[in-house]
Subunit: 240 residues, 2 copies
């Protein structure tokens, strides 16, 4: 995968001019590879660049003093994992790899230049961070109001859509490299209960999870369990 994956995702929601696409390509500096389970960005540190994930899975993680962890968002190919760091300068959470990852680094200096010269692209990227926030809002709702089964079904629906956008879903099947422990950190559950909830979904014959991949057997039923509505993913073109 290349930076084209990121462009593909951006084009899903906005019409980008040739100049803007060129600016995006120009903004990318070094491409690096990071191993599994590496804390790529640590909460609080001063940041001079942001990252576009080309290949692999990453996550935003918040730590509690007592050692508990909450994953607040998952990132897949084509995602800007910490574009918000450009405006914030430091983050309130870690950014970690969940698999081996290829990452394109974007110096903030270049993003700054985009905000100086390309107001429309700036608004588009602004919207991108807002959509991240929207996803987080949906997770908040899941944690507050959905049962374990619903919450899990919802996550798999979300990933189905987000991976679909960048062509990573094949016939209801997609790679899913998280361990049950990591999944439990997304869903606010214990690993044991994640295991039981997976069995519940499996027994309902809507989804199979295992072997580092997800297989959706009955998307309609899965969405119905999750009360899933993709509005919050803003999959539409708008003038910005």
């Amino acid at each position: 995968m290349t930076i084209e994956t990121h462009l593909k995702k951006m084009r899903w929601r906005d019409r980008l001019s040739a100049e803007e696409e060129q600016a995006i390509r120009w903004s990318v500096g070094e491409v690096v590879t990071e191993p599994t389970d590496k804390v790529v960005v640590r909460a609080g540190e001063e940041l001079k660049q942001s990252m576009i994930l080309l290949d692999g899975w990453m996550a935003r993680v918040k730590d509690l003093p007592n050692g508990q962890r909450q994953i607040t968002e998952l990132h897949v190919s084509g995602d800007y994992t910490d574009l918000h760091a450009f405006a914030l300068k430091r983050l309130d959470h870690d950014v970690v790899t969940l698999t081996r990852c290829r990452i394109a680094l974007v110096p903030h200096e270049r993003l700054r230049e985009i905000t100086e010269r390309l107001p429309h692209l700036t608004r588009v990227y602004w919207a991108a961070t807002n959509i991240d926030a929207s996803i987080q809002r949906e997770w908040t709702m899941s944690l507050g109001r959905r049962s374990a089964t619903e919450r899990m079904a919802h996550l798999f629906c979300e990933l189905d859509v987000r991976l679909g956008i960048v062509g990573l879903v094949d016939n209801g099947r997609y790679d899913f490299p998280l361990t049950q422990a990591e999944l439990s950190e997304c869903l606010g559950l214990t690993p044991v209960h994640v295991n039981r909830t997976l069995q519940d979904l499996r027994s309902k014959k809507v989804i199979e999870v295992g072997d580092r991949q997800v297989r959706i057997l009955d998307l309609k039923a899965l969405r119905s369990i999750a009360q899933f509505d993709d509005d919050y993913l803003y999959l539409e073109k708008r003038d910005r």
Copy 2:
């Protein structure tokens, strides 16, 4: 309260030039008053303006098809309640009043002009929406990993800081107009359990809640219960 409250909050995190402050003042159009419990913005509708809350309390609410509700963020005087609507054009949640509110309306046309002419102010506002997202992330963490008592303590710590910024805390005391039912929608609990959790905090002699106000008796203990750390509120000046 006037638009000055909003400026006060902005100045907490950024040095604004005279031109930028003027642009903010210029951006404000009509000021309107809305009654309690009004849905001011409904999820999905096309938006042409955003709102700065001058007086009162508002909230972002997400509805589930089955009628359950989750409040994903509370807004107080000086907050932009839906600045993200500028880039997104529609929202994935409602924005509602919790009290009688005075609201300044800001046409998106003027925000657009700011993004065309004032890149620094644009980055500052971009950061503002990112801080909203950070608050939401912290709520996600609360819902995922903190117990009812911790979660509630955390919320009251957060409000203590956020209201303090705009001068609405007097000696550990601040107005708090939410009903226990509304509080339960913030915390992902039932109203009954909110009642019991309040009694728990009260019996620990750290806080008293009632009569539409909060009185913090022992801030240190409250913060310790909540494992509160205000990093996520970004209360520092940075060059953007």
